[in-house]
Symmetry: C2
Subunit: 193 residues, 2 copies
């Protein structure tokens, strides 16, 4: 019998570097499959429908919520994000690992549906560093940056609810920690944390 | 305040490769200090007093047992082995990590004294492979090899009592897993497992 896969939930404030770390991990380990979320926000440059997100309008999103389609959904910075239930358990049962790149609110809700998941908080090195990154990314207005920063401060307080904290100061070091968390989890006798 | 150190207990049957893996880990991570055991067995070629073990005679060992000096002690293959309580908690409080290279009986007893320890079982790839290794090591008589193998079979059944299992088939891969278990543990929010 094949071992059940691991649900790896990667969360943290906007700009902490979740997306980059998740991409690196899925590139190194082909057994990790990406859980594609639904969102009502607009695609950023280079983002592809069905790969980065399923981009839908608010009407369609509400329809899916009513059909109990999501393991979790949330409104963040005025947009809706949701994780489809479909396939998650199927994938885990097949022995595939499933990774989630998700905001803190979403991670909290996932925790209710994924009791055996491994919850990792990606911590930016400091609020000023975070502001720099968000401003350099240049995809958000000054107002949105301030909103994201205010949320970030709240979210950092949430870090202690997670199983692991990875500080993303130097990317290569943060990645080394994240991949080790994954590898170690694969050696657990009771892979339930 | 400095974080408390981690007690890392490395166990498994004789010939599984515990010693080699522990040496590699302590060489890579200077924060990991080696818990030197007391033993009544004879030094193997190259082993040094106070570095590899404290070699003592049976009389001295019994004296120390009576003084409640050991966190655990056991008789294995006719010899006595013991882990001194002294310094362990002090080292952990200072933020140093402490590693134990110990047989399965000893690991079981340590579990009672080190509730927050991380317990790793090093698993040989198979009994035949283990026999080869013990015979090639050439330090034991045929009779002792048979005794060790008999114990090994019992000990492998004990693996599920541990937190992690690392199969030592290819040394570099086993080491990668072990170092990841250590690194991941350093990122735990509640480092109590």
């Amino acid at each position: 019998m094949k071992d059940k896969g691991i649900a790896l939930v990667i969360s943290g404030p906007s700009g902490a570097g979740k997306g980059t770390l998740v991409k690196m991990l899925t590139q190194e380990f082909p057994n990790i499959t990406f859980s594609v979320s639904y969102t009502t926000r607009r695609p950023r440059r280079g983002e592809k429908q069905g790969i980065d997100y399923f981009f839908v309008d608010k009407e369609r999103f509400k329809e899916l919520v009513e059909r109990d389609f999501f393991a979790e959904w949330a409104q963040v910075h005025g947009n809706f994000y949701g994780t489809p239930k479909i396939e998650i358990e199927q994938r885990l049962d097949k022995g595939l690992d499933v990774i989630f790149d998700i905001d803190v609110q979403g991670a909290r809700k996932l925790k209710q549906n994924l009791k055996d998941g491994v919850f990792v908080f990606i911590m930016p090195p400091g609020i000023e560093e975070l502001r720099d990154r968000l401003e350099k990314r240049g995809t958000d207005s000054k107002e949105v940056v301030e909103k994201r920063l205010k949320n970030a401060k709240k979210e950092i307080d949430a870090a202690r609810e997670f199983d692991f904290i990875v500080v993303n100061d130097i990317l290569s070091e943060a990645y080394e920690r994240l991949r080790c968390i994954y590898i170690a989890q694969k050696s657990r006798v009771y892979p339930d944390r």
